[in-house]
Structures are given as structure tokens and as C-alpha cells.
């Protein structure tokens, strides 16, 4: 059972990471980080329920509750920043922001 859960978790995480690197739209990028967190949460719950050694523990589930809160906070911050950025430039393209760089 564990392997199937881990596989889905790893897939979600990898999809999020790939999307994070390849996408240009700011909102999609932030959604991709959310997807990475969902993969992690699935991982934690699966490991808590079917541990590799020892009896099942609740640590993973407690951790996932905290992570949901963290992911929500990060999303709130990210979206607020998207609004701020959109007001400055009128675009959601991450590639438009290249003023700060080495000379």
C-alpha cells in the first residue's frame, strides 16, 4: 500500500517542481508550489499510516495539518504579491521582472 501512496506523492511533487521551473505565469507558478506541498502531505500521511519500522504514529498527520496552514499562508502571501506586481507592470509574466541583475 505504501508504495502506491509514495508514488502518487512523488508524482505530485515532481509535477509541481517541473511546472514551477517551466511555467511563466505567476499564478500558475504559485499553484505549482501548492501542488508540491500536496505531494508532501500525502507522503507524510502515508508514512504515518504504513511506517517502514515500528507501529503507526500520528506524527505524520499532525505534521500535515501544520503544512496545510503553512501552504495557505504561503499562498496568501504569494497572491498578495501577485496583485502588487500586476499593479506595477500590468502583466503576470515572470519574465518581465529582470531589472535586478549583475552588471
Amino acid at each position: 500500500m505504501l508504495a502506491a501512496h509514495l508514488l502518487v506523492g512523488a508524482l505530485l511533487f515532481a509535477l509541481g517542481l517541473v511546472g514551477f521551473v517551466t511555467r511563466r505565469n505567476l499564478i500558475i507558478i504559485f499553484l505549482c508550489t501548492e501542488m508540491m506541498f500536496q505531494g508532501i502531505i500525502l507522503n507524510l500521511v502515508a508514512f504515518g499510516r504504513y511506517p517502514l519500522e515500528g507501529p503507526p504514529t500520528f506524527d505524520g498527520q499532525v505534521f500535515s495539518l501544520f503544512l496545510i496552514a503553512v501552504a495557505a499562508a504561503e499562498a496568501a502571501l504569494g497572491l498578495a504579491l501577485v496583485v502588487l506586481l500586476y499593479r506595477h507592470r500590468g502583466t503576470l509574466d515572470a519574465g518581465a521582472w529582470t531589472t535586478l541583475r549583475d552588471e
Binding site: G60, A73, E74, G78, T99, E103
Partner: protein, 544 residues
């Protein structure tokens, strides 16, 4: 209700006492918010409350430091359970460090508001301030304190996010600044990705060992290594992968290679008070966490294992690459903020070198590395507050932090130019300044540990070569201040508060380099003396 409480574990007042610095800080955050609710939006009032909170925090930490003597460490957990938070001298040092830095940053901010009011028309970039600014600043400080004061992976992750999220927001504190918005974007993107990778690593570690306590993880891992057959070269891939992913988050906080790209951009775009804060506090907290992790792993692995050896090599190589990349990239910068940003990357590299010692097989070597980093951090705080403070005073006046703004500063504002020169020479590591003392302790620590691990001599060589490279770009600023001049440029009128800050930093740096050289070493050595180490449960004792 009574029954319920009887079965619930509640922390005793003695335990809570040990965490009074965090409680004071939390109280200050609430006070800043509530007072703003009653008294309206008055930035200076918020700043005063925050400053008061930081000073109270220093008192509380000094009190805890007395309680946490040798062997008097405490944890916040039910009896028999591994602690959620720990108070030992190492974590107390970081609390004190952060409170002092917090006070200096608020002081710098207060100076900046006076300066901004004086020339309200000439500044293109708007001011930052208000209760939310201080709430974000204090909250990130709280997160950084918790980062160094725990061995529980859940607490470490939450602390890390508590430190990071406000930092992202505060970089864009000036909402009219495009550069600030861009800096915040880059910071958030890098931060969110590295945090996700880090938490994935934690989920793997949890899965591998079935516990979130890093002490138990370290013991189980070393037990596994020692149980391998005589060759002892078996590699626990899940453990290594988890640890590497955890390291990504830590390395991001330290801004070491390969997660350093955000650092110069964010430092340039952020308000200069926040640049100062991030360049010192965020790195210090990241290094504290790194030291905590590697000492725990190294301490549990009696005599060193295949894994701790790999870890030491990985940290050593990263440290060497970090300080080389930082120094080489700084050579071609024209913006003083960027030069100092790359210099902070280089210094993070020097300090990471000491972390490579900690997994050394020799039992006493652990303390050498920790005390070297502690001494280095203390001097680094003074040097960076002084250098960034002086740069801030010039930047506020000139409206730019380009190198040309520093032309003729030796004539135009000697009380900025001289302390800035002291700080810059100290950043190079020249005697008789504090920076020399810091580098000396670091190299001595590396040299004494090199008996067991000869490859540490390589790090010593790299550190010395890098010091020589760094001389060039620091001296460039000093040359611009003293050897070039433009008679048409007027003298600088600067607020007294700012002058006091940078001059105090310069004087203390001078004192550390001369009179306080050996006291610094002794104090730093004592700080590393009672590091919290998990007692080994009987089930896990090693068979010889």
C-alpha cells in the same frame, strides 16, 4: 474538565521560564498590533515599542543565560519524551544575538525616518514603516530564534516558515518601489521552492525512521551504519536523499551556493534596513540550524560513520565553492549593496567551513567548530551593521548606492568614511581588527581538526586565498572614499543617531581585534560547552 486536564501535559512554570525571550518577543508583536489599533498608525510609536521589546528581550535572555548554566538545559516536552524546544547556551547566544541586532535595525530605521523627513522631496523611493513593518520584522526574528532552539523536525519547519514568510513580505515593504516588488518576487519563488524541497526531505526522514525527533534520527542512523557488515560502506539512500533535501532549505537560508542567486537581487531591491537584517540574521539562523543538525548527527555517530564522512565532504565542498563564488562575483559589481551582498555570501562560505569540522571523529573537535562560528558571527554582526549602516547613510543622502556616491567621502563625511573603512578592512580580515580575530579562530579550528581529517587543510588554503581576492573589492570602496575627490561635492549632513551606530560598531571591532582578542575566544569556547545532546536510550546503545 478536571479529569481532562489531569491527563494533559502542561509545561511547568520553570520550563516556560526558559523560553521567556520568545514569550517577550511574542508579547511585543501583540503590543505593536494592539497599540496601533488604539493609537492609530504612528510608525515612530510602533518603532519605540519594538525597540523596548528588543531591550526587554535582551534582559530576559540574560536571565535565561544565568539559569542555563552547565548542565542546566531544558526542553519543552512531557517527561520521557524528546523535547520540542531546547534551551542551551548555544540557543541563548542566538537569542541574544538576534535581540541586539533587532535593536540596531530599529535604531537604523529611526535614523532613516529622520533623514527621510529632512529631504522628503529628493527621495525617489517612499518610506517604509507602520505597525505591519515591525510586526513582520519581529515575527521573522521569532522564527529565527525557534530555528536554532529545536531538534524536532516539525518545529524546525514551522520555525523556518515563520522566519521566511514575513521576510518575503518585508522586502516589498515599500509598496511604491518596483525594485522592492521584484526582489520580493525572486525571494518568494526561491524560498517557496526550497521550502517545499526541504519539507519533502523531512517527510522522507520521517518515513525512514518513524520519528520527527532529529536526535532519534541521528541515533537510529548511526546504529544502522554500525550494524552494517565490517566494510561499513553501505549507503542508506533514503536517509541521504532526505538529508540532502533538508539541506537545500538550510543552504537557501544561508544563501550558499547553489541556492545563492536570490541573495544579491533581494539585497539590492530591499530597503537597506531590511538588507542589513537579512544579511546577518537570516544567515546566522541558517548557520545555527546547520550546526545544530550536523552536531547532532556527528555526535550520535560515535567515531564517525560513512554517512557523516559524506556529510562533512559535502559541506566542505559547498563552503569552498560558496566563498570563492561570492568573492569572484563581488569583483565586478558597481553597486555597494551588491558588493556587500556578495561579500556576505563569501563570509557565509567561511563560516560553513567550520561546519565541516563538526562531524569529525575526534570527540572534542565539535566544540572547536561551534565556538569558531559563534565568534565569527559576533564579529560579522558588528562589521555588517557598521558597513551597511554607513552605506545606508550615504544612500539616503545620494539617492543611489552606486560606487560613485562614495567619492571623496573621506573629506565630505569623515565620521562615516573612517568607521566604514574600519569595517571594510575588518571584513577583509586584516589585523588589528575584529575580522582578523574571527578568521584566526576559524583557521585555528580548521587546523586543529585537520589532524583527524587532513583534507581540512584544503579549506584553510582556500580561505586564505579568498581573503587575498576579497582585498581587491573592499579596497575599491576605500579608494573611492579617500583617493578620489570631486571638489564640487558638498559635505554630508548626517543624523547623529546613524553616526553613533556606525562609530560604535567600528570601535568595538577595534577593541575585539586588540584588547578583547582572547576574551572573545574564551567566551565563544564556553558557549559551545553545554550543547544539548540527546541522552541515548538504552535500546539503542552500540555494541563495540
Amino acid at each position: 474538565m478536571k479529569l481532562l486536564l489531569a491527563n494533559t501535559w502542561l509545561p511547568t512554570s520553570a520550563e516556560l521560564h526558559l523560553f521567556s525571550p520568545e514569550l517577550v518577543l511574542t508579547g511585543t508583536i501583540v503590543a505593536v498590533l494592539l497599540v496601533a489599533l488604539v493609537a492609530g498608525r504612528r510608525p515612530q510609536l510602533s518603532a519605540m515599542i519594538a525597540l523596548l521589546g528588543a531591550l526587554l528581550g535582551v534582559l530576559a535572555t540574560a536571565h535565561v543565560a544565568r539559569v542555563v548554566g552547565d548542565g542546566g538545559l531544558g526542553g519543552l516536552a512531557p517527561p520521557g519524551e524528546p523535547p520540542m524546544l531546547i534551551a542551551d547556551r548555544f540557543s541563548v547566544f542566538f537569542k541574544l544575538f538576534l535581540f541586539v541586532l533587532l535593536a540596531a535595525i530599529i535604531w537604523l530605521w529611526l535614523t532613516g525616518t529622520i533623514e527621510r523627513r529632512m529631504r522628503a522631496t529628493s527621495r525617489p523611493v517612499g518610506d517604509v514603516g507602520g505597525p505591519e513593518f515591525f510586526v513582520l520584522l519581529l515575527t521573522s526574528a521569532l522564527g529565527m530564534m525557534l530555528m536554532v532552539g529545536s531538534l524536532n523536525l516539525l518545529v524546525i519547519i514551522i520555525a523556518m516558515e515563520t522566519a521566511s514568510l514575513p521576510s518575503y513580505a518585508i522586502v516589498a515593504a515599500d509598496r511604491r518601489s518596483r525594485l522592492g516588488a521584484e526582489a520580493a518576487l525572486k525571494y518568494v519563488l526561491f524560498g517557496a521552492a526550497s521550502a517545499a524541497i526541504m519539507v519533502y526531505g523531512v517527510s522522507l526522514l520521517y518515513g525512514r525512521f518513524g520519528t520527527l525527533d532529529l536526535g532519534a534520527v541521528a541515533q537510529a542512523s548511526s546504529l544502522w551504519s554500525h550494524q552494517q557488515d565490517a566494510g561499513a560502506t553501505g549507503t542508506d539512500w533514503l536517509f541521504c536523499l532526505g538529508l540532502a533535501a533538508l539541506g537545500v532549505g538550510v543552504v537557501f537560508k544561508i544563501a550558499a551556493v547553489p541556492m545563492h542567486y536570490w541573495c544579491p537581487d533581494v539585497f539590492e531591491g530591499a530597503p537597506i534596513e531590511i538588507t542589513t537584517w537579512l544579511s546577518i540574521a537570516s544567515k546566522a539562523a541558517g548557520l545555527g540550524l546547520l550546526l545544530r543538525i550536523v552536531t547532532t548527527l556527528g555526535g550520535a555517530a560515535a567515531g564517525g560513520t560513512h554517512h557523516t564522512e559524506l556529510l562533512a565532504w559535502a559541506i566542505g565542498i559547498l563552503a569552498a565553492v560558496t566563498c570563492t563564488v561570492g568573492n569572484l562575483a563581488a569583483l565586478r559589481q558597481e553597486s555597494v549593496k551588491r558588493i556587500l551582498a556578495y561579500s556576505s555570501i563569501a563570509h557565509a562560505g567561511y563560516m560553513m567551513m567550520a561546519a565541516a569540522i563538526l562531524v569529525a571523529p575526534a570527540g572534542t573537535a565539535a566544540n572547536v567548530g561551534i565556538s569558531a562560528v559563534v565568534a565569527y558571527l559576533l564579529v560579522y554582526l558588528l562589521m555588517n551593521v557598521g558597513a551597511f549602516g554607513a552605506a545606508a547613510l550615504v544612500t539616503w543622502h545620494a539617492g543611489t548606492d552606486h560606487l560613485s556616491a562614495f567619492t571623496g567621502l573621506g573629506r565630505r563625511a569623515p565620521w562615516i568614511a573612517v568607521p566604514l573603512a574600519v569595517c571594510l578592512f575588518s571584513l577583509v580580515g586584516l589585523p588589528p581588527l575584529g575580522g582578523f580575530a574571527a578568521k584566526w579562530f576559524l583557521l585555528v579550528a580548521l587546523g586543529t581538526s585537520a589532524a583527524a581529517q587532513p583534507w581540512l587543510w584544503g579549506l584553510v588554503v582556500i580561505a586564505v586565498v579568498n581573503t587575498a581576492i576579497s582585498l581587491y573589492y573592499y579596497v575599491r570602496i576605500i579608494r573611492q572614499m579617500f583617493l578620489t575627490d570631486d571638489a564640487t561635492l558638498p559635505r554630508l549632513q548626517v543624523p547623529f543617531g546613524g553616526l553613533a551606530l556606525v562609530n560604535v560598531c567600528a570601535v568595538v571591532i577595534l577593541l575585539i581585534g586588540t584588547l578583547w582578542f582572547s576574551p572573545l575566544g574564551e567566551r565563544a569556547g564556553r558557549l559551545a560547552s553545554n550543547l544539548y545532546v540527546q541522552p541515548t536510550p538504552p535500546a539503542l546503545t552500540l555494541q563495540p
